[in-house]
């Protein structure tokens, strides 16, 4: 329940506030991704995958959208699973997930021959997004995983 509320809040804040702020280098952190990762960290792979799928589907359907529906459902389901399963320590898991998500989204869009995904996207946009997301990651992940008991073991 907390996780669902966190994801919804992250989605609204993302589209209404964060994306409209003139941040340096034109980048913005991906709060929904962090909410999914944070919630999945303490809830295990199955819950993480389901939460990620749901969050991704919302990202796909919430206006404004111009991409193919299902793209973020795919990406976030995989990221949620990975975050719940854990790859190494907690910090490593978060970093891997944050790195993986935009690359995976770019790969799937690329497979659908989306004109928006080019080499410049990978060299300019993705690094900026990753850095922005990593900067706010500790705060968001802490906020989201705060309410739940620690069930995550290394």
């Amino acid at each position: 329940m907390t996780a669902v509320v966190a994801v919804l809040a992250a989605l609204l804040v993302q589209f209404m506030l964060v994306n409209r702020l003139p941040l340096p280098a034109g980048g913005a952190p991906d709060l929904v991704l962090l909410a999914v990762v944070g919630a999945a960290l303490t809830r295990g792979p199955a819950a993480g995958a389901m939460l990620g799928f749901g969050a991704g589907l919302l990202v796909d359907l919430a206006p404004p959208t111009a991409h193919v529906a299902g793209l973020y459902a795919f990406v976030f389901a995989l990221v949620g699973y990975l975050a719940g399963r854990g790859v190494g320590g907690r910090a490593v898991t978060v970093v891997v997930c944050v790195l993986l998500a935009p690359l995976l989204a770019a790969a799937v869009s690329g497979l659908l021959s989306d004109p928006r995904v080019t080499a410049a996207t990978l060299t300019q946009q993705v690094p900026v997004t990753v850095v922005c997301t990593l900067v706010v990651a500790p705060v968001v992940v802490w906020l989201v995983s705060r309410g739940t008991r620690e069930r995550y073991a290394l």
Binding site: G26, F53, T65, T129
Partner: protein, 292 residues
Amino acid sequence: MRDSRRARLILGILLTAALVILTVDHRTGQDSPLRPLRAAGSWVFGTAEQAGAAVIRPVTGFVDAVASAPGAQRDIARLRAENARLRSDLAASKVDAKRSAELKRMLGLASLGGYKVVPANVVARRGQPGFEEVVEVDAGTDDGVRAEMTVLNGDGLVGRVVHAGPRTSTVLLLSDPGSAAGARMEEGREIGVVHGVGEHGRLLRFQLLDASVPVTRGTRLVSFGSRNGAPYVPGVPIGIVEQVEPASGDLTRTAYARPFADLTALDVVGVVVRPPARDPRNAVLPRREGTR
């Protein structure tokens, strides 16, 4: 239980479902069976975004003001706590005045060209993270907005409506790499296509269809217009050419233009619900500043 067969099974099912949705939506395009779902999402989130916009606007306006005046930050730091209330009042009234001026300018531009516009506010934006450049505006089919309508603001062309909900609609910006608009050079009748290049909306790529025609820095572009004015009406100022690629023997000639409309900081926009009866040609272009 770090990993189990059950978790893997669930992941597999979810990934398959996502791929099915992806494929269906991609293959069917405009008449996608997901349209009702999109409409529902647009209704729910559009309403929420619209309601939240009133709360958010002072925040974005304030951040905007701070970002545009780095020198003011020093003064702000010096101000004492008792000034905070007065300052926020002042900022709010300034933002209001700015918005009203923007609206006036947009309506002025619309009347110059003879377009009939519905004014709207930007309530949500999607850019990075993600690869598309789209915004949500608070006007929808209830206000007469339909898909494939031109969107402009006081400075020039902004984009086109890709999806219209009852009270909100989605606008694909000119800077989206997937967007293409017909453009005409101010002097002469040479036509070309304007593509977005991302770049946070600072530049647009202009491809001139006739490679032998010279393009110079400072040339201004207006929209060429599409059949029946959908999705682009003719005569809307697009941008000013900033750099020209050297001729390379290609079939087309490429130049980069700076859009007149500031696509990174959009607030009041207008949706053209009725195109002008006649192409206004260059009548809507802003007055040329000095000599170049």
